[in-house]
């Protein structure tokens, strides 16, 4: 057993990660020495370890506890302007050398079909580290405490008459990521993610309604510690969520028509993700996803001219904001995180990019090139995509709205491959009448066209309503990569939006 074999065992347990730096240098030395050949313009090595624990419960009882440790390394090589990448979870000097040679061979194969060489936007080599700020390490919280919290929350919800099931979960992850490049960067990041949620279903068999808290699709997640779970207060909200599910069951279908709509922050977060974040991924714009997740209606020649949204809408990408699923110190090109404007007062002014795609528009990388762990190449991904807050309190915004609908909590979504048109379903809608929330409706759906929709935004709530909403399952790339992102949003108002019930039978009064 050589040194690297010994190192590999340490990597399996992040409790030992403080010792990794020197060991990672050993891995790096072997890997970079194996690829440092004539024609290799750039290379980098990433070693990542994921420690994950998830706890889930339903109806007052523990469902299960699952734990995972995932360690491996990837080597990326740019040979005569063509990329190659290879990766493995198996360590040892011979395996590292095999993987490095494989990355180089793959790059040489890519060169066969090269037409114009890849160029990278400039960045200075970096030697640095980054650690997620947190108050309570979620892995330090005893499992019985986590179990008790979930059992209490689901029991409180499930014991209401008419509730079919209540389920809840808590997820804790620690990503230890080390990066070294041929040009001298050495970066270490420890990112801790934590989150969870509660979902309650009322009704029987095929006639059911579900309410979720604080968000749907597994809840809300972000960078930070167990304090995030305590602040959610799942047990304290359980009864209310269950009561809302029961109310939905007897609520009338959402009316059809053109309405003034206020989107709650969680739904607006997904709207930002799908109709601003994805279309502005620069690799997608250039056609990298043409065969899979699609292309984009947006193009670089529209920079500075496309009126993407109304003039109160400004959007940035900002991984430097703490607390998001896209909060980090460096992307997987080794580019330091920074805030970059995407939409300024409604006008398209930027894209999400990495070093390769940024160079194609003569820009610097926005530090959005990210890989879903050691086994994947970095591609252009969202970090925290943030709709900047406006000036309204939610109470004032409701009071200013004579007639309309308040839509909350995503249930389903679909958007075309160019990101031009969308269809979103929410768990619940509330009538707004005379400036106040009223009747609850079931099965609300709204549809629209991206640019037209964002130009209908006429009010955004202020920073007191701001929250980063986590999306833990953003898919893209071939092989497919699922990565974490967040969207920053406050509730916002949109005029004259097409709304219907997913049952599609009710006719409403319209308005706004």
């Amino acid at each position: 057993m050589d040194l690297v074999d010994t190192v590999s065992m340490k990597h399996q347990n992040s409790l030992m990660t403080t010792q990794l730096s020197q060991d990672f240098e050993t891995l790096t030395r072997i890997a970079l020495a194996a690829v440092a050949r004539r024609g290799v313009e750039y290379a980098d090595v990433r070693l990542t370890t994921l420690d994950s624990e998830s706890v889930s419960a339903s109806n007052g009882q523990l469902d299960g506890i699952e734990a995972e440790t995932d360690t491996g390394f990837g080597i990326r090589v740019l040979y005569r302007g063509a990329w190659g990448f290879a990766a493995s979870p198996v360590f040892g000097k011979s395996e590292i050398e095999r993987v490095a040679r494989a990355a180089l061979d793959v790059a040489r194969a890519s060169y066969r079909l090269s037409r114009s060489p890849v160029r990278l936007s400039p960045r200075q080599p970096v030697v640095s580290d980054y650690t997620t700020p947190l108050r309570i390490d979620p892995f330090s919280v005893p499992l019985p405490d986590r179990i008790a919290l979930l059992e209490t929350a689901t029991d409180r919800a499930a014991t209401l008459e008419g509730i079919q099931s209540a389920s809840a979960s808590i997820l804790a992850q620690r990503h230890t990521m080390q990066f070294a490049s041929l040009d001298g960067s050495r970066i270490r990041q420890t990112i801790v993610l934590c989150g969870g949620g509660l979902s309650v279903t009322a009704g029987q068999k095929r006639d059911v309604q579900t309410r979720s808290f604080p968000s749907s699709h597994g809840g809300d997640h972000g960078a930070g510690g167990y304090e995030r779970i305590l602040e959610m207060d799942l047990p304290g909200n359980a009864r209310r969520v269950a009561e809302e599910a029961l109310l939905l069951l007897s609520a009338p279908p959402c009316p059809n028509g053109a309405f003034t709509v206020i989107l709650d922050g969680d739904q607006l977060g997904l709207q930002i993700h799908e109709s601003i974040g994805h279309p502005l991924e620069l690799d997608r714009v250039f056609g990298a996803e043409a065969n899979f997740s699609g292309t984009s209606f947006a193009s670089p020649d529209q920079l500075g001219s496309l009126r993407y949204a109304s003039d109160i809408v400004s959007v940035v990408t900002d991984p430097t904001i703490p607390g998001g699923l896209g909060s980090y110190g460096f992307d997987d090109d080794g580019t330091p995180a920074r805030r970059v404007e995407l939409i300024r007062n409604g006008i398209l002014v930027g894209f999400l990019s990495g070093r390769e795609t940024a160079s194609r528009i003569g820009a610097l990388s926005s530090a959005n090139n990210r890989a879903a762990g050691w086994r994947h190449v970095p591609i252009n991904r969202m970090s925290n995509t943030v709709l900047l807050p406006g000036t309204w309190s939610l109470d004032d915004l409701l009071a200013d709205t004579e007639s309309g609908l308040f839509l909350t909590t995503n249930r389903s979504w679909s958007i075309d491959d160019r990101r031009e048109s969308f269809r979103f379903e929410c768990e619940a809608a509330y009538e707004i009448r005379g400036g106040k929330l009223g009747q609850m409706y079931r099965n609300p759906v709204y549809t629209g066209r991206t640019v037209d929709f964002w130009n209908r935004c006429d009010a955004i709530c202020n920073e007191t309503h701001f929250k980063l909403w986590g999306t833990p399952n953003c898919g893209k790339g071939e092989p497919s990569q699922s990565i974490f992102t967040s969207q920053g949003a406050c509730p916002a108002r949109f005029r004259n939006v097409a709304v219907e019930s997913s049952a599609g039978k009710s006719r409403g009064h319209g308005g706004g």
Binding site: G72, N443, P479
Partner: protein, 448 residues
């Protein structure tokens, strides 16, 4: 060049089982995978990766308690640490319901599904082969994007109750999209377990032909249309229907349309749907993640509901035997058929089109999501080849449209399926499916 994943070392599995703590049982599942993906965009190789991956699931059981720990190493020290972690978790758990007893190995079928040529295919060979796709796109003044993935996978299942099974397979997945600067695009794909089964040039030609025919699309009014859905459109519908209805979990819950209707006519006479994991081109395995031997299951026979698929948990709830459809541990989803074969019709796709006065020819659906799962209602958009049929002929392209439909109701309205079938791969499932004619298919808006 490729990592050696020819088979799972049984000694490694035995070494793990030998670490079973006193008074415990241990079940191990291992997947060792080497994949090589060459990805095209803008007619060049945009990404090219060679990845060795290894996943080890350890289920530790004691009395009525069990827990799952996942790691990505077979080395002794990480395995020891993982078992220790599982033991600590077991100690925190209270007593639960009785566990399903572990069962020893049963005879499993032999399937010839490992192709040495595919396993040995190099990135250089992939690049050379894809040059032909680029050449074909160039002829049509198109760009080509896509991915060619070759995967060699070994699977091993073992437990202290007397189970020890290993198997290996190869697979090839090709998907190509050709496009011109106007945005007109066309798509095609192929799947099999041998590279020799994949005709890259034929796939490229079909994708290029669809892209060229997609130029100058006209906008049609949304509404009901008679459609000819090609396998790329039928496949996602069948797969979502299987998620909702062909697995033991929704069947036992009563949310599957099959529940309470086994033996009854539920679909048209010409529809027979089987799950056939023993066809090597279907991407199946001879045994599932619980070690249960796999066998073909008839789901729908001449329109009559016959059966759903089970793992040991759902089978126990239903009072029947597992059909060998357990997914990887911890999936949380429950069993569903992953190798569905729909029987062919007697008429070619061209002849089906010739029989339609006014309608649409749909290549592919995209971004499908649920509208009302209880009614098998979904939404999505067309993509990469949406055409108008007039007087029995394909007369031109139309702009992509969004549909909202009940899969079950649409299949019930279907009037015919084609005599040709294609292999279609999606979300880790393989289907062999014909084209299908469905009247009054509902489109709600122009999408792009």
């Amino acid at each position: 060049m490729n990592a050696d994943v020819g088979t799972i070392d049984r000694k490694a599995l035995e070494a793990i089982l030998n670490r079973t703590p006193p008074a415990c049982e241990l079940a191990v599942a291992v997947v060792d995978e080497s994949s090589r993906t060459t990805r095209l965009a803008e007619s060049v190789i945009q990404a090219n990766v060679s990845v060795r991956d290894l996943t080890v699931w350890l289920e530790l059981r004691r009395d009525t308690r069990s827990t799952l720990v996942t790691l990505h190493s077979l080395e002794p020290e990480p395995v020891r640490a993982a078992i220790g972690q599982a033991l600590r978790i077991l100690d925190t758990l209270g007593d639960g319901d009785p566990l399903i007893p572990l069962e020893p190995t049963k005879p499993v079928p032999r399937i010839d599904m490992f192709d040495r040529k595919t396993d040995a295919w190099s990135p250089k060979q992939a690049a050379k082969a894809l040059q032909e796709a680029v050449r074909i796109a160039d002829i049509g003044r198109l760009s080509v994007a896509g991915a060619l993935t070759l995967t060699s996978t070994a699977r091993g299942i073992a437990h202290t109750g007397g189970m020890m099974l290993t198997a290996s397979r190869t697979e090839v997945d090709l998907s190509l999209t050709c496009a011109d600067p106007s945005g007109a695009s066309g798509w095609d794909r192929a799947y099999g377990h041998r590279i020799g089964d994949i005709d890259i040039a034929a796939v490229a030609k079909r994708a290029a032909s669809r892209a060229i025919r997609s130029r100058d699309p006209v906008e049609l009014e949304p509404g009901p249309y008679t459609v000819v859905l090609e396998p790329g459109a039928v496949g996602p519908m069948l797969l979502f229907l299987s998620f909702l209805s062909f697995g033991g979990s929704p069947f036992n819950r009563g949310t599957s349309f099959m529940a309470g209707h086994v033996g009854e006519k539920v679909l048209p006479d010409f529809m027979t749907i089987r799950d056939d994991p023993l066809d090597p081109r279907m991407g199946g395995w001879p045994f599932d993640f619980e070690g249960t031997p796999c066998a073909p299951v008839t789901l729908i026979e001449n329109g009559v509901a016959r059966s759903v698929v089970h793992d040991r948990t759902t089978a126990g709830q239903a009072g029947c035997a597992s059909t060998g459809h357990a997914l990887a541990p911890g999936n949380g989803f429950g069993p569903y058929p992953k190798c569905m074969v729909m029987s062919p019709g007697e008429t070619s796709t061209d002849a089906l089109i010739a029989g339609i006065d006014q309608g649409l020819l749909i290549t592919r659906f995209w971004y499908i999501n649920y509208v009302n799962p209880m009614k098998t209602m979904i939404t999505g958009t067309t993509r990469d080849g949406t055409f108008r049929i007039e007087n029995g002929k394909v007369t031109g392209a139309i702009r992509n449209m969004r549909f909202v439909e009940s899969i079950l109701e649409a299949f019930r309205r279907a009037t015919a399926v084609s005599s040709e079938r294609e292999y279609f791969r999606m979300f880790g499932s393989t289907m062999r499916i014909p084209s299908m004619v469905i009247p009054a298919f509902t489109f709600t808006e122009v999408a792009s």
